[in-house]
């Protein structure tokens, strides 16, 4: 059980970091649920990708989805802001609510939903525009024309994404000139600029070097004080380091979801234990 021990160690390091960074200790956190999913089934054409998934995502916390490739964790993440809508031939049953409102109801404005539920992708996707224009994109399409307001939003978003100091003198440079890690933080800043409540992250650090990954993880830690964060990750250590809750997916089923500490130290299901101890996947 050395792996279990190493997770316990991770937990310990993490708690130390949390006590430094946060006034509130994790255990007394109040769990107001932000997103509630009940009996979700998802299909790509004939192929069913998710089976009867139910879960709640608590507010101002980090929820991590782990599981082997193809287990449906990314697909599930994308149902939370209806990104799967743009893929032809997908179908879904069940219910997803954001603060009590069914996001798949007929009268839901998908564009408005996506402004409240932002998303960061695995591959950084800066637009071929300047750094400023990238961050200002969301507010601009939402109708913000006032240049001064825009500058304020851009500065604040870049500060929150811990990128401001590195780019403040070259806001008009192309975003494509930034390094991979900077591009990913730019994408986070761009997502924050639309002022979302929820931030979905699909393996945001998997294409980055360890130093950039550490910066992103620190950033996620900072952000959870104001945002509800849902993150998909391949990397179990990462889930253990940054998340409050962890959900384990396997073959389209949600196997287990619990507080991260519990799931990694005393998993209830055999499959979870096998996965986190590296017996498969």
């Amino acid at each position: 059980m050395t792996i279990m021990q190493s997770f316990s160690e991770l937990m310990h390091q993490r708690q130390q970091r949390e006590t430094v960074k946060r006034s509130r200790p994790v255990e007394t956190e109040t769990d107001v649920s932000k997103l509630e999913v009940s009996n979700l089934n998802f299909f790509y054409g004939e192929k069913q990708a998710l089976f009867d998934v139910s879960m709640t995502v608590p507010e101002r916390s980090v929820t991590a989805f782990i599981g082997p490739s193809g287990c449906g964790k990314s697909t599930f993440l994308r149902t939370l802001n209806r990104m799967n809508d743009i893929i032809e031939g997908t179908r879904l049953t069940g219910k997803v609510t954001l603060e009590g409102q069914d996001i798949y109801a007929d009268d839901v404005d998908v564009v408005a939903l996506r402004k409240r539920v932002g998303m960061v992708f695995q591959k950084s996707t800066p637009f071929p525009k300047s750094i400023f224009e990238n961050v200002a994109y969301g507010p601009k399409i939402a109708g913000q024309r006032n240049q001064k307001e825009l500058q304020g939003i851009v500065e604040q978003s870049l500060k929150r994404a811990a990128l401001w100091e590195e780019v403040k003198d070259r806001m008009q440079d192309s975003a494509l000139a930034l390094s991979g890690g900077q591009q990913q933080r730019l994408c986070i800043a761009r997502a924050l600029a639309t002022n979302p409540d929820v931030l979905l992250m699909d393996e945001p650090a998997s294409a980055l070097d360890p130093a950039s990954t550490a910066r992103i993880e620190d950033l996620i830690f900072e952000l959870k004080q104001n945002y509800t964060i849902v993150i998909v990750t391949h990397n179990m250590q990462q889930a253990a380091r940054i998340s409050d809750w962890t959900a384990f997916f396997f073959q389209g089923y949600l196997i287990e979801k619990d507080r991260t500490q519990k799931l990694f130290t005393t998993p209830k299901k055999k499959q979870t234990e096998d996965y986190i101890t590296g017996r498969f996947g």
């Binding site: 990104m83 743009i86 564009v111 992708f121 996707t125 994109y137």
Partner: protein, 328 residues
Amino acid sequence: MSVAQTSPSILVKQPNSLTRRFSWTRAREQVIRLALFLCGALSLLTTAGIIVVLFNEAIYSFSGTAFFQTVSITDFLFDTVWAPQHPDKPRFGILPLLCGTFVIAGLGGVIGLPIGLASAIYLSEYAKPKMRRIVKPTLEILAGIPTVVYGYFALVFVTPYVLRPIFQTCLGINVDIFNALSAGIVVGVMIIPTVCSLSEDALRAVPRGLREAGYALGSTKYDVSLKVVVPAALSGILASFLLAIARAIGETMAVTIAAGQQPRLTLNPFRGMETMTAYIVNISLGDTEAGSMEYKSLYAVALSLFVITLSMNVLAQWVLKRFREVYE
């Protein structure tokens, strides 16, 4: 080491010497190689030949007097009258021909480029696969219509049934039967497939992730198409525009028929004009004496046209490189 020890028998017989020797296989390779090279060289040689002939007749003749050895280049570029057939005092100012060419290409561009780009955006971003299967071949049919048909269409339909009723009857503007506007309209229609097809390729090459990022920020389809995908495909779109304009400038039959053959220095699109290409058609028809100034002027005009379309093509290449966004 151990392999050599455990397998003493050599399975494939190796040649004793590495020196190259004649073999039919290699000879066939050489012949094929040569034949393919000649095919490639043919197009190069043709281009080189055309340049040599143009140079010989227009700039510096090896056997007689070239056009620019008689007419000064200043007169050619700045004289405002093109009258090569004048019996006493022929004048060779290319401005009227340039003007006709650019007015018609410009009108064609104003009509064809936005429509071509809009249809490319529709096909790439909006159209359902089924719709695309119908629209794309239809556009390709447009590209397959002989240009002489377009010219005829401009002359017998666009001018009398569209332009004259609108501008002459309603607005009281005199519309010549040969006019630049009708030529511009059909040239515009002609370049739509070029613009559409090339721009659509550029739009479709934009990675899917960029579109998703756009949608994830709360964009509508319109926002994603115009503010994310089009800027990302800008180099390809601009290149398609330049190639289409080059095609419009080089267009011959349609404009000869629709715009007429009067070299007139005017910006009024309702008057007849002559383009450079139309002049070349005019002179090539046969009753021009070989070796006369009129005959040589053809090469001067052709050379100008060649320089213009070549620079458009070079510019298109440059734009494609300069504004290309690299996505891995």
